[in-house]
């Protein structure tokens, strides 16, 4: 248990419950044909997002990946606007122009989910340079999966950040899967931490299904990055409960392993902490029910909301030489 108040414990549970309810509802809406495109659920990984989000300040920059709903919620993006975005509706985080894989909320320091594995990391590297240039005391944080550990841009960014000493926290959310392939089957060497250490990065590996452990390690590393201006690496070991994306039934998985790993449910473990701290079953149930009710309400609102104005299809491309169609739709 963190040495923090009962209120903080409840806030963290609320965040994790919101993420799980969001993912469950998003996948259901996809299967019902109400949400298009890709939905990558982060179910089972809630403690990583929540712990990192809690350790960062709102004005710290976070670059995320394709499995980024939880990261965005934990960083402070509005889940109602995110649900509108998934439905492609007006009022969505990105006005319905990005969808699940491109949710960004700059007002919350959220530099965006990303459809290209590993690319968010180099963006965070640039954010760290901007922080230095502007003389700010923010830090940049990149969240990526174990699959990204085999992408060139990430390896380039780890070397560069360590060599040039910029305030960047690398967070590897290791859910054991590279899309539908077991990461260990396609990865050489002793693992993510060894790779980070080979670049001279301070690297820590934690049980990513235990919120207190994640948040404690994240707070320590965030503070170190902020005070030293130098990068660090946090490896969070977790497990992806669902398939790679909504239509993936994950038939390639070992059922016994799956059954064993879901017993490490980060929400159940956090609730056990809270029970030990005197929070009642009724309170815990109320938090879960409230999160589910909020998400259900936002889903209903998103279904009922209007689509974006059609001219939005051609706006915000560029100032110079915008698409010719814009003139036709401008009226």
């Amino acid at each position: 248990m963190l040495p923090e108040s009962r209120t903080t414990g409840i806030v963290r549970l609320r965040t994790m419950r919101l993420i799980r309810a969001f993912e469950t509802a998003a996948a259901a809406a996809w299967h019902a044909g109400k949400v298009r495109g890709s939905v990558h659920e982060s179910t089972g990984q809630e403690a990583v997002a929540t712990g990192i989000g809690a350790a960062l300040r709102r004005d710290d920059w976070l670059a995320s990946n394709h499995r980024g709903h939880g990261h965005a919620i934990a960083k402070g993006a509005d889940p109602r606007a995110m649900m509108l975005e998934l439905f492609g509706k007006a009022g969505g985080t990105c006005g319905g122009k990005g969808g699940s894989m491109h949710i960004a909320d700059f007002s919350a320091g959220m530099l965006g989910a990303n459809g290209v594995v590993g690319d968010g990391v180099t963006l965070a590297l640039g954010a760290a340079h901007a922080i230095g240039l502007r003389g700010e005391d923010r830090i940049a944080c990149a969240m990526f999966g174990d699959g990204a550990m085999n992408r060139g841009p990430l390896l380039e960014a780890m070397n560069w950040a360590a060599a040039t000493r910029v305030p960047l926290l690398f967070v590897c959310e290791d859910n054991a899967w590279s899309a539908t392939t077991r990461t260990r089957d396609v990865t050489a060497g002793p693992g993510a931490v060894a790779r980070a250490e080979a670049f001279g990065l301070r690297a820590v590996s934690v049980d990513g299904n235990d919120l207190a452990t994640v948040e404690t390690a994240a707070r320590e590393l965030v503070e170190a990055v902020r005070s030293s201006g130098e990068p660090a690496f946090l490896h969070c070991r977790t497990w992806r409960w669902r398939g790679h994306y909504a239509p993936d039934k994950a038939l390639y998985r070992d059922e016994a392993e799956q059954a064993a790993r879901v017993t490490e449910d980060p929400i159940a473990r956090w609730e056990a902490h809270l029970r030990a701290a005197g929070i009642t079953e009724a309170e815990l149930a109320a938090i879960a029910a409230q999160a589910e009710a909020d998400i259900a309400r936002w889903v209903a609102e998103a279904e009922a909301a209007p689509y974006p104005a059609l001219r939005a299809a051609f706006t915000d491309v560029q100032d110079l030489g915008p698409p010719e169609e814009l003139a036709r739709h401008a009226a």
Binding site: W61, A63, T93, C94, G95, G96, K97, G98, H102, A104, D105, F106, L111, G112, N114, G115, V116, D119, V121, T122, L123, A124, L125, G126, A127, A128, H129, A130, I131, G132, L133, R134, A140, G152, P153, E156, A157, N159, W160, A163, T164, A312, T315, D316, V317, Q318, D319, L320, G321, P323
Partner: protein
Amino acid sequence: MTTLTYAEASRLALQQEMARDPLVWALGEDLGPEGGVAGQYRGLQQMFGSRRVVDTPISENAIMGAAVGAAVCGTRPVAELRFADFGLCAADELVNQAAKIRYMFNGQARVPLVARQAIGFRQGIAAQHSQSTEAFWVHIPGLVVVAPATPADNHALLKAAIRCDDPVVYLEHKELWQLTGEVDAEAPPAELGVAERLRTGRDLTLVTWSRMRHVCADAAETLAAEGIGADLFDLRTLWPWDRGAIFASVRRTGRLLVAHEAVRIAGLGAEIVASVTESLFGELKAPPARLGGPRAPTPFSKPLEDLHRISAADVAEAARRLVRG
């Protein structure tokens, strides 16, 4: 007015913009002590420090990705990629991130960066160092594409590119680095999207850019002596290209020839010819024509490389055919 090389002119522009705006910075390989592959950054790191002229590892993905991240976080990075051929190593970050972020995020952020990558031949540097990739970048929504051909333009256009809020692919030409010319150090930024009319003529509209500006100017001189007047334009900005100026000229001349160093097939010349044909078909006196390189990698050996180059004689001959039939 002062006489500068094309490389020195761009260095002056960057120095002036860095002095004017503390959020302008440069990143890339060999910028510090070396001063860039053509000396175009010489002395700037000593002047502005290693935080604003950043020597990077040979990591093109990270150079471009870092430029994107720094741009959306409120700075104006100039990312040096050395050669357009290496710009392709960073194509993911330029195409999938820089060009799309403003749109995907509904205008929450702009991406005011300059991606400098020199195009073209440079006397025997062969297939992986000689490409002219401008058509590829023009094809990508979200990007502005600029190709200066003179020292004065490499000063005024680079200033404009740095101040532009859109991501700009800035294509200098490797064989122009040592070209000298008059530069007004106090010149304001050029207006992007505006072609320069080098000479007026009533017989054909001749459109070009980058190094081929000089080749076409020679050809136009030859043609003038023969009584053929070329209305010669250097586009300078390739997206958005100056449709107004080119269309107005073709309305006068009824004939269009586009000449570029890049591969002819699916080159930017094809787009210009198609646009003119769609809009001005009834006013054309002859089918528009285009000249460009062969669809083959650039060879090393001099006589072979020479075969890939469009000469002033080639341009003049194409113009004669267009005018005299």
